[in-house]
């Protein structure tokens, strides 16, 4: 039972309801469930799910992230993804061997891509995108399928805005790609790589989506914004 309206903004400690099921970012004490963060509460009968307004990125299996190699342990690399938690990359060698552990938690249909040989000569300072194969109990992530990203620039957005920047079925990011003719790689960890094309417009567009993520009609506004700026 709960009296919370759908789409209410809740604060930490706020009562979400009694005897309800709450998914994440909340804590249940006895019958009562309370919010743990400031966020948007989506209420559907007895289920409440809380979309946080802000928060850190936590590595999750299946996520594509962008990071920088910060330590080379001789063939095994530590990748900084701007999170509290480290990522390790153990590239496969050409003959398919190397990399001790198998892929736990990876999806079957991605196996072909995950076993692609890594680019040679990775070094400290290289920027790459990679997929998180799995995350262990202290939140350390193992990366796979690295792709080197050269040139271009990287901007940082709040990780929680990334889904809006990508859009439903990549709709938003594809509009931006099309209108700016830039290569854009989006990491779930909030790092976005942009190269070529109208980079300044791409940066401005992404920042605009980030700032207005919670508003409606954004897709149309972005279309207008990009069209007017790209024809100049």
């Amino acid at each position: 039972m709960n009296n919370l309206q759908d789409r209410t903004i809740v604060l930490p400690g706020q009562l979400l309801g009694e005897k309800i099921r709450c998914e994440n970012n909340c804590v249940t004490e006895g019958d009562k469930s309370y919010a743990l963060v400031k966020g948007l509460a989506r209420v559907d009968r007895n289920m409440v799910s809380l979309i946080p307004m802000n928060g850190p990125y936590l590595p999750k299996a299946g996520d594509v992230v962008i990071g920088v190699i910060d330590v080379d342990f001789g063939g095994i690399y530590s990748v900084d993804i701007n999170s509290a938690y480290k990522c390790i990359l153990k590239p496969m060698r050409e003959d398919g061997r190397g990399g001790g552990r198998g892929q736990r938690g990876g999806r079957g249909r991605d196996r072909g891509r995950d076993e692609e040989p890594a680019p040679e000569n990775l070094k400290v300072g290289d920027v790459l995108s990679a997929k998180i194969a799995y995350v262990d109990e202290v939140r350390e992530a193992k990366l796979t399928g690295p792709r080197l990203l050269e040139n271009g620039c990287i901007i940082y957005v709040r990780p929680l805005r990334v889904p809006r920047i990508i859009g439903k079925q990549k709709s938003m990011i594809n509009i931006i790609r099309e209108k700016t003719k830039s290569n854009i790689a989006v990491g779930q960890n909030g790092l976005i790589w942009i190269s070529g094309g109208n980079m300044q417009l791409a940066v401005d567009a992404i920042r605009k989506v980030e700032a207005e993520a919670h508003t409606s009609g954004l897709t149309d506004r972005m279309m207008e914004f990009l069209t007017s700026r790209s024809n100049v």
Binding site: L11, P12, V37, K38, P52, A84
Partner: protein
């Protein structure tokens, strides 16, 4: 001393999200106090040997600017700042869901730009806003307020002159939802009866400030 009722708070203004390079931040003016708080984290914890594999470590660092007080304070932590940092960190640790982030550090920095008694309470109140702004999970906000005794009268929220000539200072921080007291200090002379009165007064003061915190988080700013 400033025309307030004995149980009246000083004017308070709060603003959330004021700094750009931190994950969350807040600025609070409380009486003549001006305090800003910023949060980084969860982030990698250094030194590594202090990492706790079961939970994050909350570290609040309280610092007063050299120009925040009448007689210039030398920059750098003094013993008072170290003590305030410690008990404030402990107050927050009970409230932040630290088991979500093993091995990590959640760093809160409280900067006092202008001080006029009660800065540790203002700092902790601002820190709580900054943590909420950063999206760090907490079981509730933490709010702090002090009571004291001046001229044999128990009063709420001492200002500096009252603190200097006062007979007692009782700062307190609570978790409003559960009623837990997570910070408490007392110095001076109080009878048991006076203590009960002061405690209740500070507690009620906290609840009033809590309402303001909630407004500030929802609207970006609030004032009373």
């Amino acid at each position: 001393m400033d025309g307030r009722r004995f149980d009246e708070l000083r004017p308070i203004k709060m603003k959330v999200g004021v700094l750009k390079n931190v994950q969350g931040s807040a600025y609070v003016e409380w009486g003549k106090n001006k305090v800003v708080a910023g949060v980084f984290g969860p982030r990698e914890m250094h030194p590594k040997r202090l990492q706790n594999p079961t939970e994050a470590t909350v570290r609040l660092t309280y610092n007063m600017a050299a120009f925040s007080v009448d007689d210039r304070k030398r920059p750098g932590p003094d013993r008072r700042s170290v003590e305030i940092s410690k008990i404030s960190s402990e107050a927050l640790t009970g409230v932040v869901q630290v088991h979500h982030y093993p091995n990590a550090a959640i760093d809160v920095f409280v900067e006092v730009l202008q001080a006029d008694a009660g800065t540790r309470c203002v700092g902790l109140t601002a820190a709580s806003l900054a943590l909420a702004d950063a999206g760090i999970p907490m079981k509730d906000l933490v709010v702090a307020c002090a009571a004291g005794k001046v001229d044999d009268e128990v009063v709420l929220d001492l200002m500096k002159e009252e603190d200097n000539f006062g007979q007692c200072d009782l700062p307190m921080a609570i978790v409003p939802r559960t009623g837990e007291v997570v910070l408490l200090q007392q110095d001076g002379k109080l009878t048991q009866e006076e203590f009960n009165k002061a405690f209740d007064m500070a507690y009620q003061g906290c609840l009033k400030v809590y309402e303001l915190q909630k407004k500030a988080l929802l609207n970006g700013e609030a004032q009373q």
